[in-house]
């Protein structure tokens, strides 16, 4: 069936900010969908509040709305654009839920918008647990015993039938938010309460526990002629009970016979047909009883998902792209398999390698959070690795995590060191923690048997034996040393051992292992991911490394490097807090720019969620861990033919930057700013000298190697001070210290964090305004691309702070000063490419906080706000072009762009939401409008904060903020709000004639403020605190606000901005405007 001609324009909803459960994978899918539909000649209208995405690049859609993804805003866009169709399956749960709401409110009917891909009825049937269960029963598929509850009473009644342990799943929430497993009555009530609250329809499913069963996923694609294919099967190594996003998974499934696999295949297809997914990709999840093979359907997602991104990368079959084309009427046999170019898309990919996906966690960012994995997802990113066997792919995945692992590194199981008491090890194995794989390996080292380990952790014995095999090989290497023969070393490399791990095991330097490898001529070869296990020739250089051969004949390598002039771009690895999608955006832009400049582009990355790892983003793609060994090996292969211009290490965040030294040592050219300039900017003493020479100012500071030294420096600078370990990203372990006792505590912890590295101490500029600047330079000229004024004061990590472009309070003189200082710095550092500078402005004084001569988190935001694609320009400069070659005049309009951060606090019970110098946000949104108030309002809405237009505002601020709150209080009263305040704040407000009601602090007895909040008596919270005691006292206020979705601001500047936004909201409805009209003429 050819494509539909009765529709001309299609609305695509993106996934919004990166949050746990919705990461870059939806940028990948949305980008593919936009490209696929534009290619077909449709007018594409895109809505996404996340500026750090490739999909929101103005060239990818005809109208790009960087607007909050809410039903109201969507209704405005639909009213304005009048799309013929809405594709709701590309933007995760956010898009699906928003589309459902639009359907329910009758907006789609009113404007005659047809849902394509999946319609409202299908979504309802797939997402509503009861309807889904009924549907499965109709087609003879089993579900776990379960019951729906809308209240605690109903839940308790259900429990009588189902028994403990039971699983509680809230309806219509993302990645299992608010759900969990209850083992006892107490836990049950607790989780049900949270689940009912988390569910937008106040509904939870209480379900028979299939804990410990094997878990499988099938990625199914169906077209409107009812052709169905399975793109990939995925087996979760972690058993049922751990969210699949938090599970280690492998593709393909490895422990099913064909009969069982085909039963599952038939069940998945039957499921799609029954639910009625007419076109597109879906993910169906199954549990299998390991003892009987009993098969149970767990759930299905009628949309592309994290797993479908993984399946696409694992097989080379682009699910999102195909799904978009199927949605407009094509059938699978009408579409081509891009990889082979000779076969159609209507087939099932088959693979000849093993793929392992490993989740990346960031528990260290959330002190107090319990490090246990459940059915509620907690990981913030993932890496994927490919090997010709499971051991190789597992070990590659471990080193791709970039958590310092070189393989199955030893871990300490407290109390189990000797192995005499295996109960302790077994108890450790029974707890699903982020590092359980390492605990398993350790248990084998302690002599536990596969059966012992299996009983405790419920991993399938097949995987356990593989781990046991790796440990056994390690023991042998440890005892006998590095093999002297080619076959022996090859054997180890085939098991996936990194040089670094072998070095640890044999007690030699990594360089010595590499030298032995070179001496014995043991090098990886590169194989292609071709969808067909080599049955057809592949014209697509999508590759992974492996070790092949019998040690005699040279192994076959399919890399086939070209004769071209080439540039290698190193990506950012797994997403994590502090290094996310923004860096992938930069890498992709580097690829685009260098492609335009005529270079062959070669991408290296191991994150399956990204656009950068799409096989058609770059000319050549290596899906490899970002370690020096893996990168140098592939560079050597690329250098065999053609001319390698250089490697870009400055765009992927800290990950590739860390490889700079090793690459330089290997005499591999690095493009752009030389690594020495990076060191100059990061080395305290060198940097200080540079600033002194330039006559620029930085806060008083010092470097301490010991507690005594730290105390001396802090005294001389004067408290409060900002203290942090050197060489970190995302403000890891950075703290504002107000007194000596805290300093002492910090130093004992921080030294652990940073090892031998010294600790940096800066004067904390209280109440200073922080400013972020992104600039590009060719070494001769510097172009200041964007100056962003932070809303939160200096001291809050820049990644967590909201900011405004252009600055909204700074004077023109200060802005000019910042511009001049940035230029001076850029030239002095010898920056070629991107540079980010952070300033603190106190009064008219401008202090330099830090300079990073590399891509920053704000690059995509600046590019979207100004219309100048600075990452692309930077890449061209790095390749040697002068700045004068480019037009740098961006958007002329007077619009304001506000960036706001989005936090994962709701997923981590008992974690404080207070912001500080350690970055905690997972993503960001952009609010774009004609003035600051409106732009800020949109940024809040986009990040899920709905500002009230009336009601009661609770105000409680520390003494030094009291003067600042007077104007805020007055404005609130003017806007018609009533005020509630704690004693001191109330007195301050009253002294200025502001009417305010008193409320008790939590420690002052009940009823107190938290009671009032829980009773719905507070609609907005302004709460600033200082000092450990006050912070502890106000913890429950922040947590209650978070869980009850009451907007709260913990800085005066934030409160001011919120009031400005409320004022703007009350003065008229929010209007929507596509990015293209803001940037008219700038591209």
């Amino acid at each position: 069936m050819p494509k539909r001609r009765d529709i001309e324009s299609i609305l695509i909803i993106g996934a919004g900010p990166i949050i746990i459960g919705q990461a870059c994978e939806f940028d990948y899918s949305g980008t593919q969908a936009c490209k696929a539909l534009k290619e077909e000649g449709y007018r594409v209208i895109l809505v996404n509040s996340n500026p750090a995405t490739i999909m929101t690049d103005p060239g990818l859609a005809d109208a790009t709305y960087i607007e909050p993804i809410t039903p109201e805003i969507l209704a405005r866009i639909i009213e304005k654009e009048r799309p013929d169709a809405l594709l709701p399956t590309m933007g995760g749960q956010t898009a699906l839920n928003t589309a459902m709401e639009l359907a329910k409110r009758g907006i789609l009917r009113e404007y005659e918008v047809e849902m394509i891909g999946a319609n409202a009825e299908v979504i309802e049937k797939a997402e509503d647990r009861l309807l889904f269960r009924e549907a499965m029963t109709r087609i003879g598929l089993e579900s776990p015993r379960s019951a729906i509850a809308h209240s605690m009473e109903e839940a308790k009644a259900a429990l009588l039938e189902i028994g403990l342990p039971s699983v509680i799943r809230p309806s219509f929430t993302l990645a299992g938010t608010g759900g969990g497993i209850a083992y006892n009555q107490d836990e049950f009530e607790q989780i049900v309460t949270a689940g009912l609250k988390a569910s937008p329809v106040c509904e939870v499913l209480v379900e028979e526990s299939v804990l410990g069963w094997k878990e499988f996923e099938m990625e199914v694609v169906r077209d409107r002629a009812d052709n169905c294919i399975i793109v990939c099967s995925i087996e979760n190594v972690d058993p049922m009970g751990i969210h699949t996003g938090d599970s280690i998974t492998v593709a393909p499934a490895l422990t099913l016979t064909d009969k069982e696999y085909q039963t599952m295949r038939d069940a998945s297809i039957a499921c799609l047909r029954e639910i009625g997914v007419d076109t597109g990709g879906s993910n169906v999840q199954f549990a299998v009883n390991p003892d009987t093979g009993r098969l149970i359907v767990i759930e299905m997602n009628p949309r592309v998902s994290r797993s479908s991104a993984l399946a696409s990368k694992a097989t080379g079959f682009p699910i999102a792209k195909i799904a978009a084309k199927l949605a407009v009427g094509y059938t699978l046999d009408e579409l081509q398999n891009d990889i082979t170019e000779v076969t159609p898309a209507s087939f099932e990919p088959t693979i000849d390698y093993v793929v392992t996906k490993m989740p990346r966690f960031t528990f260290e960012k959330f002190p107090g959070a319990e490090k246990t994995l459940t059915t509620s997802m907690k990981s913030v990113g993932e890496a994927m690795a490919i090997g010709r066997n499971f051991a190789e792919s597992l070990q590659k995945a471990l080193r791709s995590m970039e958590t310092g692992l070189t393989g199955l590194n030893e871990v300490d199981i407290p109390g189990a060191a000797s192995g005499e008491n295996s109960d302790i090890a077994r108890a450790a194995l029974a707890v699903p923690t982020p590092d359980r794989l390492l605990v398993i390996a350790q248990a084998f080292r302690l002599g536990l048997s596969v059966a012992d380990v299996q009983r405790a952790c419920r991993y399938d014995a097949w995987f356990l034996r593989q781990i046991e095999g790796i440990v056994a090989a390690e023991t042998k290497v440890h005892e006998r040393g590095l093999p002297n023969d080619r076959a022996g070393l090859l054997h180890l490399k085939r098991l996936g051992f990194s040089d670094a791990r072998l070095a640890e095991l044999t007690g030699v330097a990594e360089a010595a292992v590499a030298a032995r490898r070179n001496e014995l001529d043991v090098h990886p070869v590169y194989k292609r991911i071709d969808t067909c296990a080599a049955e057809f020739a592949s014209s697509t250089p999508y590759m992974y490394s492996t070790y092949e051969g019998d040690g005699l004949a040279p192994a076959e390598c399919e890399a086939d490097p070209s004769e071209a002039n080439k540039v290698i771009i190193l990506g950012g690895g797994p997403n994590r807090i502090g290094q996310g999608i923004e860096f992938d955006y930069c890498c992709v832009h580097a690829v685009y720019a260098l492609d335009e400049a005529g270079y062959e582009t070669i991408m290296v990355n191991c994150n399956p969620e990204t656009v950068s790892t799409d096989y058609d983003t770059s000319d050549r793609l290596y899906f490899e861990p970002l370690t020096s060994e893996d990168v140098i090996e592939l560079v050597r292969v690329e250098q065999k033919r053609g001319a390698l211009k250089g490697v870009i290490v400055q765009f992927g965040g800290q990950t590739p930057l860390k490889l700079a030294a090793a690459l330089e040592d290997a005499k591999i050219p690095i493009l752009g700013t030389p690594p020495d300039a990076i060191d100059l900017a990061e080395d305290r003493e060198r940097f200080q000298k540079l600033l002194a020479r330039l006559g620029l100012r930085q806060p008083n500071n010092g470097t301490a190697n010991s507690l005594a030294e730290a105390e001396r420096i802090a005294e001389s600078i004067g408290y409060p001070v900002v203290i942090r370990p050197s060489y970190v990203l995302g403000g890891r372990a950075m703290e504002i210290v107000h007194d000596r006792s805290v300093l002492t505590r910090y130093m004992t912890e921080a030294v652990k964090v940073s090892g031998k590295d010294p600790v940096l101490i800066d004067s904390y500029l209280q109440d200073a305004i922080e400013v972020d600047v992104d600039a590009i330079s060719d070494g001769r000229d510097v172009h200041v691309a964007g100056i962003m004024e932070h809303i939160e004061e200096a001291g809050i990590h820049s990644g967590d702070s909201a900011c405004s472009l252009p600055p909204y309070t700074l004077s023109p003189a200060v802005i000019e000063d910042i511009r001049a200082q940035t230029k001076k710095l850029g030239l002095a550092l010898g920056v070629i490419g991107l540079m980010n500078v952070q300033y603190a402005v106190k009064g008219n004084d401008v202090y330099i906080l830090e300079v990073n001569p590399r891509a920053s988190r704000t690059v995509p935001f600046v590019a979207k706000a100004t219309g100048v694609a600075i990452a692309k320009l930077a890449a061209r400069l790095m390749a040697g072009e002068p700045l004068t070659n480019f037009r740098l005049d961006g958007a002329k309009g007077s619009h304001v762009a506000v960036k706001e951060a989005v936090f994962p606090f709701a997923r981590f019970p008992n974690v404080d939401t207070l912001l500080g110098p350690e970055m905690k946000s997972t993503g960001e949104v952009m609010g774009l409008d004609s003035d600051f108030g409106r732009a800020f309002a949109k940024s809040q809405l986009g990040s899920g904060v709905e500002l009230p237009l009336e009601g009661a505002v609770f105000v409680s601020v520390r003494d030094r903020d009291k003067p600042g709150m007077i104007a805020v209080g007055k404005k609130l009263v003017e806007l018609g709000f009533s005020l509630i305040a704690t004693h001191g704040t109330a007195a301050a407000l009253r002294a200025h004639g502001i009417k305010v009601d008193d409320v008790k602090k939590v420690m002052e007895g009940r009823p107190h403020i938290v009671d009032t909040m829980k009773n719905g008596g507070v609609h907005l919270v302004f709460n600033t605190t200082d000092g450990a005691q006050a912070i502890a006292d106000s913890f429950s206020i922040r947590r209650t606000a978070l869980m009850n979705k009451i907007p709260y601001y913990t800085t005066v500047a934030g409160a001011r901005a919120a009031v400005a936004a409320i004022g703007a909201l009350k003065s008229g409805k929010l209007e929507v405007t596509p990015l293209q009209s803001y940037l008219e003429g700038s591209f």
Partner: protein
Amino acid sequence: MPKSGPMLLDLHLPKSQAPLGATAVIVLADGTELWGRGMGAAGSVGGEICFNTSITGYQEILTDPSYAGQIIAFTFPHIGNVGANPEDIETTTPAARGLIVREDITEPSNWRSSQHLDGWLRSHGLIGIAGIDTRSLTRRLRDAGAANGVVCHAPEGIFDLAELRSQAKAWPGLEGMDLAKEVTCRQTYHWDETLWTLGQGYGRQAVSTFHVVAVDYGAKRNILRCLASNGCRVTVVPASTSADAILRLRPHGVFLSNGPGDPAATGAYAVPTIKHIIEAGIPTFGICLGHQMMALALGAKTEKMHHGHRGANHPVKDLVSGKVEITSQNHGFVVVEGSLPSGLEVTHKSLFDGSVEGFKVKDMPAFAVQYHPEASPGPRDSRYLFERFVKMMAENA
């Protein structure tokens, strides 16, 4: 994106010494040696080396009689994960001559497993080799065509390479080989086992509607199970059974099974029988070799393919409904489309290479498919063909 060809294969280095630890070798007819570790039975065996891209179902593949005369290289590196069990077999005696895999066989892990695959291979005298770059081998077979060769498993690591080379060269190849006579049943028997289901295993047929005579050229049991599950009373007869003998059994329909070897060779005695049956107006359904020989019987030609179709992901388009089915395939010969007489109508085509995957006879109740609707291993998308056969018998009754 720049397009580039594959790098030159570098498998031709002259060498004649086993590397340390090698206990098995593949010697190809052109003299290429590929060293690895032996598995299964010891000894050496010659045959046509072919590759199969299925990820699951190795036990079914190894017991599929159509692999007679062949050594199977599995493209998926881990083979043997789920062990061996007495259920997942297509004949009691494997017909394949040997197997080539990337990884050593692991301990099995599956609730139905009863034996380590290595033990199972040994008990059936199957010779295997692990540690081979099967992807490289596959690329070679894909580019240069099916190759003849010898696999030798010598646990003590001593090889007579000259002898192996001459064995490999001497192996005649499949063209012109009638292998059906080696794998067909020796005598007529009845079949009443029905399809496998999760939790129940195989069933037994309770009632039957139509009597089907299945001519066994090397039939996979799952075909017989499909027939039985569709209400057919199945009588299986040897490949050489005459048309008269078949008709004497008074069948409602005749089924022509899959099987190994060259259809032209087996056709020497099977084609006249098939012709006679079709002309008698008995509903006839052929699969694989049965399909090829039905085509021969009706005047078409068959030829050896470059490297064949073996896998569980082959898309086939039903030209009547326009629907695509994902099929299980295993064939090295094919019906030449241009040779089809006017009385035949192509009903199914491969979307991989456009080859003929199915046809029907215009004025007679007879049809055939090249692929394996019985699956086992592979997708079950095409089971409707058995229903079609039953319907045909009903209409003819």
